[in-house]
Subunit: 737 residues, 2 copies
């Protein structure tokens, strides 16, 4: 509401406040926003020729993009992600015990300070006390176990309660993974506050709490949301981005490169463990004394026969992915439609209690998801004392004939126990994740999916290993798996399984394979991983075409045009546009001849967000398009500030005001708010082309003409409804425009 | 010319041969092609529900894409690239001598077979004889030198002559790097034969010859062209791709991932050399006996102070890149416009002779570009005997105080000689590449650009090293470069320089930095490389916005809309469209009322490739768009095969034939060839939006309307001409449509 005088006319270069902005839960017009930015840029460039100050402004404008990205990177990538990691680590350990020399140390740091403990005895350092030791004074016996058990459940419930309460009280948008919403927002939808500062703060805190509570969820997805919030908030520092929705979306998109990078980093760290194991095996450190560096290459780590189990893992990943999506969506729909959705706090507490109760007794579910995956990916060396490496030691080395101390060995008691526990953990994780994802706490899906796949893979890998050990003379193993050789690596199976499950759930096969290719650099692991992820995608696609994020977008009714989905039907634009045959005619404004009162009546009698402007009702020749919001704001403003504007004043969209009788009130000129270049397609345009145009140009609506006459309008919502109808789904599930 | 009878009407589902295809040097319509493919796909899917055979067809159709990519990968990636590599290696060595135990062995393979030679004496193995030894019987003295010199020039001229003659006689499109043309083809332009089998065969052979002749050129760019040819030829195996220009472009695009991958592989191999050196230094193999694997990490390989020389290298790279482009384009334009262009064979022979004459005496120009870069990237170890590592040996180890045998040392005589030779090589490479790139032989630019940058970087690196050695107490070096420490790595400088020059020439900074990030995985080298490539891009952009490929596209007048180039001017569609103010009205057809004779006269009196169809000349309301080629083919065909079609027959584009007098000849119905959904924009549409639409949708033309009336037409050529005009360039340089 600037005070530039009552007789001020609407000027397109300096619009009224509010004109050109969008309402909540609406879709932006990309073309228009981009054009606005180009105008701004052009103005700055032209001015920069005039003075030095303006030149500096132009340079700083050009660099602000770089500076912004740097700030986002520093803030989101380093500070927040690092902080969340450290806090979650500490709080996860807090569930088991506390450090005596300072409660702020986690288990690992606590034991670092004591010099005498070796790596082996790390877990038993005296400074770290379990709750049983602190409370009951003993660490042995059933009583101590029960104390630890109860404290574990107590902390888990406390963390979960805090998380869900904070989310509900301060930032309801902080729940979930956020990726479905961000995909929709990046495609041009507006959800106010979704990327705001409260969401950022609360999501950061509650993410730590949710991860620490031991629920079956990961932190990678929510981290992407956090990075997007950072980008969005930092945008406000720069005029270039503050005023332009499309420009801001570009920055956020760059921030979601983090959508890809955390996944990459995740794989990279797990991959490092696997490679370290392989390398250790290959370099033969206690053998000959050759210079080690040039022997860092694997010898044939997988055999063609192993493709069969890898493909099996792909089938498992695909089946689980598809079933998980179906079950999770069904559960979320139940939550939305029944009374269950009214008690989110109780829901979270019950699920947390069940998780903690079932997870504690099994060491593989008690540890965090990332730790579990890391352990499953790891290969066994001779010194490894973990249960997973509980093989029978070779009685005398001469028996095996070769001095390869890492050869396949028969499973011992420890390994059998581990396998049982893993099998139980697999069932547990598969079931609990379905009801966990979608609760009102921040929750990612990468880690749980990978954990399921890694467990399945490891089980299959150990199975293959034992099969090979006991049947090394059979047809399939002869020749490549002689006794004493190290031919099957269960860790690789775990990795393949993790990729297959992640692929089945998210359907990001290409990104996955690209990441793998980048990590491995060659064809060493690319074939097993590609075989598994491709199989997984095909199997999952056969059971349902959508990934988990698309399914959640659909569930929430967001207007999102999937970029890869092909439009398979042969409809034409005329079949999709409104008005349909039999409907009342399209509500249009004429470029002159309508009064302010008539325009107001027309606009208010409908709920459309925009109106085409035509030459006349008879000719229906298209002139432009005005937005409802802009019309109402302009009329409102003119009535207040412009002399003589009454209901009888003529509304004029033409360049020159037509001649009027002298006694008539002054006309209201609204050409400035009209979009003079609305998009049009002809009624015969196939819908596949129309959908393509909407997708590529980011349109919000498009007008339909026939032989030069305006016929109707197609909005993004119309397209989504039509697509839903074609797929035999409920078209009313598309909620927003 | 199918024989389906003379009375056959034009049916859109089974078009006449020729209808819907394109002429040479024309732009395709992406939207139309994509729509055609969707129709085909839909038909197959619908049929697949009917019979098992059709289902199998549908499945094989879906898998043919995968199979095709696999074949392209095998053929281009492995067979051709590997073959070219081996052949070029052998022929390069042939210029210096021959292997006695089999002429088909190259120098390295020849000496492999002799067991007694150590790595050090590799070059002097008795099986390998230089030409002087073979012809004159001696390898020492000036006479032997002259014999070797002459033989070197003889082979170089022979290879170059063969290359240019083969290109001229069999496949003129095989010359150059091919990347500018491929960029244009992928954007939708048609150059028949550019990706044909003759181009493939001749380019493969002549690439080997050109590389072996010692000219200052690389093989990475032409390899991309070869891969594209493979993809194009293999497309003919599958109906899906044979019939659809847009689909084929998709396959070719995937093949040009090779545009990115060879570069990546190139960097990877050079990077490996550098890392090997660093690692060797860090792991300290002769020191303590710790397990080596866990020490593979660099200790601070670069210091913040070194950013200054890195940025200097960036400035050098940008300057050289911009000047190289200007000089090369000026030289190519001279070749195009003067008599020089009439003697390509003589030009190639002269340049080859000059190159060989000047390259032979200097060992750094005599070796191949890739070898040179590899040597420059390499770090010096104590055992290294090359001239570049000709440092003074420390007299006694206790002097330095530390046992680090790889510390910075003072330059010795060998190194001074090497520096002189490198400086001469730098000048030589900088000049000769300008006249080499663009000759009528296959020639890439990656290796020469990187060589220039690597030489400059190494020179600066050694300079810095000596500066630090002699001034380790000065303000800038104190604290991080104490005596006996190994603080400056000339190899890293060479790498940074190579990246800077490559960035300056091609402007692919983002790809370069992504490659670097992938290779290094962290921030270890990313900062130096980013600093250098970004500086290089900014400096080069300040001197001229185009990369070398865009400059060559412009030079050749191809219709190519640069995807990143922003349209900076505030023109509207009405300013760009034809007819301009004062021109005769737009040539249009009416949907009825015109006779065959009138249509023919109109079409033949103009040279336009297409004509809008309107309701009537008075209303100018748009109905559709027909292509010139389709109209002429259809009329020609109808006259031959359809009874009663004469010049007086009415041409009808409407759905229902209007009532005609009974004595009139039967009408010619042409609705089938009309595009019912031509793209339109309004006259007020800003050109930046229009350009965006052309780019994103891959349009060939777009019609311009005002208030629903047809006003004019904009083609891709019009846009390019307008952009040339705005940039004060000659609009007539845009040659094709």
């Amino acid at each position: 509401m600037n005070g530039s005088g009552p007789t001020r006319l609407v000027d397109p270069l300096d619009p009224l406040p509010g004109v050109g902005t969008y309402e909540d839960f609406n879709t932006i017009d990309w073309v228009r926003e981009k054009s606005k930015d180009r105008d701004r840029h052009r103005e700055i460039t032209n001015k920069s020729r005039e003075s030095t100050m303006a030149l500096l402004h132009s340079v700083s404008d050009a660099f602000s993009g770089w500076l912004l990205m740097l700030l986002v990177g520093l803030m989101a990538g380093s500070a927040l992600a690092g902080g969340i990691d450290i806090a979650a680590h500490w709080m996860t350990d807090l569930k088991e015990g506390v450090c005596l020399i300072g409660f702020w140390f986690n288990h690992e740091h606590c034991c670092w300070t004591s010099n005498e403990t070796t790596f082996q005895e790390r877990d038993q350092c005296p400074q770290w006390q379990s709750w049983a030791e602190l409370i009951a004074g003993t660490s042995k016996g059933p009583f101590a176990y029960i104390v630890n058990y109860l404290m574990y459940i107590f902390w888990a419930l406390l963390f979960a309660f805090l998380a869900v309460t904070l989310v509900r009280s301060f930032a309801p948008y902080a729940c979930g993974s956020g990726i479905p919403e961000i995909k929709t927002i990046l495609s041009g939808f507006i959800i106010r506050g979704y990327l705001g500062k409260w969401t950022l703060i609360i999501k950061t805190i509650t993410l730590v709490l949710a991860v620490s509570s031991g629920l079956s969820l990961g932190k990678e997805g929510p981290l992407v949301h956090v990075a997007c919030c950072c980008a969005n908030i930092l945008c406000h520092l720069f005029t270039k981005y503050r005023k332009n929705e499309a420009k801001r979306r570009e920055v956020r998109s760059s921030a979601t490169v983090s959508y890809y990078f955390p996944l990459k980093t995740l794989w990279r760290s797990f991959f490092a463990a696997l490679v370290a194991a392989f390398t250790l095996r290959s370099i033969n450190p206690f053998g000959n004394s050759r210079l080690v560096l040039f022997y860092v290459e694997f010898h044939a780590p997988w055999h063609l026969v192993e493709l069969a189990p890898f493909i099996l893992l792909g089938i498992f990943g695909g089946l689980w992915g598809a079933l998980f999506i179906k079950a999770n969506i069904a559960w979320c729909r139940t939550r939305k439609t029944t009374r269950l959705g009214h008690y989110p706090v109780i829901e979270v507490l019950v699920v947390t209690a069940v998780t903690a109760l079932l997870a504690f007794p099994n060491s593989y579910t008690r540890m965090s998801g990332a730790e579990l995956i890391s352990e499953l990916f790891n290969d066994c060396s001779l010194l490894d004392s973990s249960q997973l490496c509980g093989y029978k030691q070779p009685v005398n080395t001469s028996e095996a004939g070769v001095d390869n101390s890492l050869a396949d060995r028969p499973a011992g008691q420890g390994l059998y126990t581990a396998l049982w526990q893993l099998a139980l953990a697999l069932i547990f994780k598969m079931l609990i994740t379905v009801i966990t994802f979608g609760m009102k706490v921040p929750s990612g899906l990468f880690i749980p999916s990978m954990a399921v796949g890694a467990i399945a893979g490891r089980l299959l890998g150990v199975g293959m290993e034992q099969l090979a050990y006991y049947n090394h003379d059979s047809l399939i193993f002869r020749g490549w798996c002689s006794p004493g050789a190290d031919c099957i690596t269960p860790g690789l199976y775990a990795m393949v399984g993790a990729a297959a499950c992640l692929g089945g759930v998210t359907r990001m096969t290409v990104s996955l394979v690209v990441i793998m290719f980048e990590l491995t650099g060659g064809l060493e692991y690319i074939v097993p991983l590609m075989a598994a992820t491709m199989t997984s995608k095909w199997v999952a696609d056969a059971l349902g075409r959508e990934g988990i994020y698309e399914a959640h977008i659909r569930l929430n009714g967001y207007p999102f045009l999937e970029p890869k989905e092909e439009f398979e039907h042969s409809s034409l634009a005329v079949d999709v546009m409104r008005p349909r045959r039999g409907d009342p005619a399209l509500a249009v404004l004429t470029q002159d001849g309508m009064t302010v009162g008539e325009v107001e009546t027309l606009v208010e009698s409908t709920h459309y967000s925009g109106f085409p402007v035509v030459v006349s009702q008879e000719s229906q020749r298209l002139v432009g398009f005005v937005l409802r919001r802009d019309v109402l704001i302009s009329i409102d403003n003119a009535r207040k500030r412009q002399d003589g504007i009454v209901s009888a004043s003529q509304v004029v969209f033409t360049e020159h005001t037509p001649a009027q009788p002298p006694e008539a009130p002054p006309p209201l000129r609204l050409r400035g708010i009209m979009d003079l270049s609305p998009f049009t397609v002809t009624d015969h345009t196939p819908m596949d082309i129309t959908v393509d145009i909407f997708r590529k140009l980011g349109l919000r609506q498009c007008l339909v003409t026939h032989n030069g006459r305006l016929l109707g309008i197609i909005t993004k919502k119309d397209i989504l409804k039509h697509m839903a109808q074609m797929a035999n789904r409920d078209p009313d599930s598309i909620l927003f425009n």
